[in-house]
Subunit: 175 residues, 3 copies
Amino acid sequence: METRSGWGEPGQVGKETDGTGHQMSYDAIIEQLGIVIPASPTPVANYVPVVRVGDLLFLSGVLPSRDGQLIMTGKLGVDLSLDQGIDAAKAAALNALAIVKSEVGSLDRVKRIVKMVGHIASAPGFTDQPQVLNGASDLFVQIFGEAGRHARVAVGAAELPRRAPVEIELIVQVA
Amino acid sequence: METRSGWGEPGQVGKETDGTGHQMSYDAIIEQLGIVIPASPTPVANYVPVVRVGDLLFLSGVLPSRDGQLIMTGKLGVDLSLDQGIDAAKAAALNALAIVKSEVGSLDRVKRIVKMVGHIASAPGFTDQPQVLNGASDLFVQIFGEAGRHARVAVGAAELPRRAPVEIELIVQVA
Amino acid sequence: METRSGWGEPGQVGKETDGTGHQMSYDAIIEQLGIVIPASPTPVANYVPVVRVGDLLFLSGVLPSRDGQLIMTGKLGVDLSLDQGIDAAKAAALNALAIVKSEVGSLDRVKRIVKMVGHIASAPGFTDQPQVLNGASDLFVQIFGEAGRHARVAVGAAELPRRAPVEIELIVQVA
């Protein structure tokens, strides 16, 4: 049903031992994978990037932006290819991790990626929302292993803010 | 505002006493109603059907599928009738219950259906999303009675994965 | 990125002291602002306005209605102006607060507006969903101050129930 995203073998990394038998931290895995967590996006209206209730973080919707600019715009199925959509989902997921890191200090405090809802701006007839969203799912599993396996909802949106192709909302459990 | 779905009298069953005065289990009610909980759907990407946090189950989006195949495809308002949409919502709801049962062993452990978001693939001008979603809501109340009454959000999606007409996301409290 | 909605200076009120140095209650702030919390909307199908789990309230989707009638219908980008959308979002937010008040007795028991997902009925090309949603966000911050700052998701829906322009789903933490 869903294609692979081409980012290595998800699920085989998370908190592995390194060559010396020590368990690696998520921060170390991220560094090893060459992944750069960007600066956390800043809301410009009366809301916040994340609200914590108990051990749950409820994140605001994140777009595939860097430094406040969308890295691409348009709809899947007409403006953008599936591969571009996957890249957009990954970029949005990195922004979500930036928010988590900014809130709790280190991604080592992630206990579980609980749930992701992915809204994919979809032209009529585009129904590969799950494949697009793999760009985010695979990243989470690549970093967090089993703790990165989440409940997931993929839906096709009519339009998204600022012509973003993807918007991700996330619930994360932290320690 | 919303039509009845024609599945008996919702809200009058859940954990009733049987003829002998004993309180019936949800599993017994399901059997008595002739409802068959299907096999739990299996994700084919880097996510899981459900994540549990404390006593809450966060489910992945479920489609009206059986054995991996959608029982119908298309949009409400052009391809499918309201009655078909109601059937699709019921089929998706059964998949959600299959996931819950698979996670906690028995539906008798359901304490409350907390919240359902129903995404209805909607052609331009179709605005009866709530009536479609009654196919799921009525099933929950038929089985769980008051414990099946949930918070609900009905929205019209531009497109859904694999041309599904309905996708349901659910939060369930378990004992 | 987002325009101001013109409802004063959000974030400067919530639980301020009044002229005598006493901290004002949210109910008093609402009265002072001249905001009227309407009657709580009543679902007409097998669901409920709100489900409480622990200290969290999960609300059903609310529309910009009064006394069961929508105050406006249509899509942003073709039928309604941005200012009308902002008004619709505010009206929906007031309904959400009506539900909270009905559930816990007084808005003084609000501990935090946790998360809002705003679905905006969007004609092709309309991408100002965040600006529309400010109508709700600004209201929450006007009343609750910092406790009103929430995680937020703004998405463009293809269609909404009864041709509503806005639907809001809310999670609220109460004391």
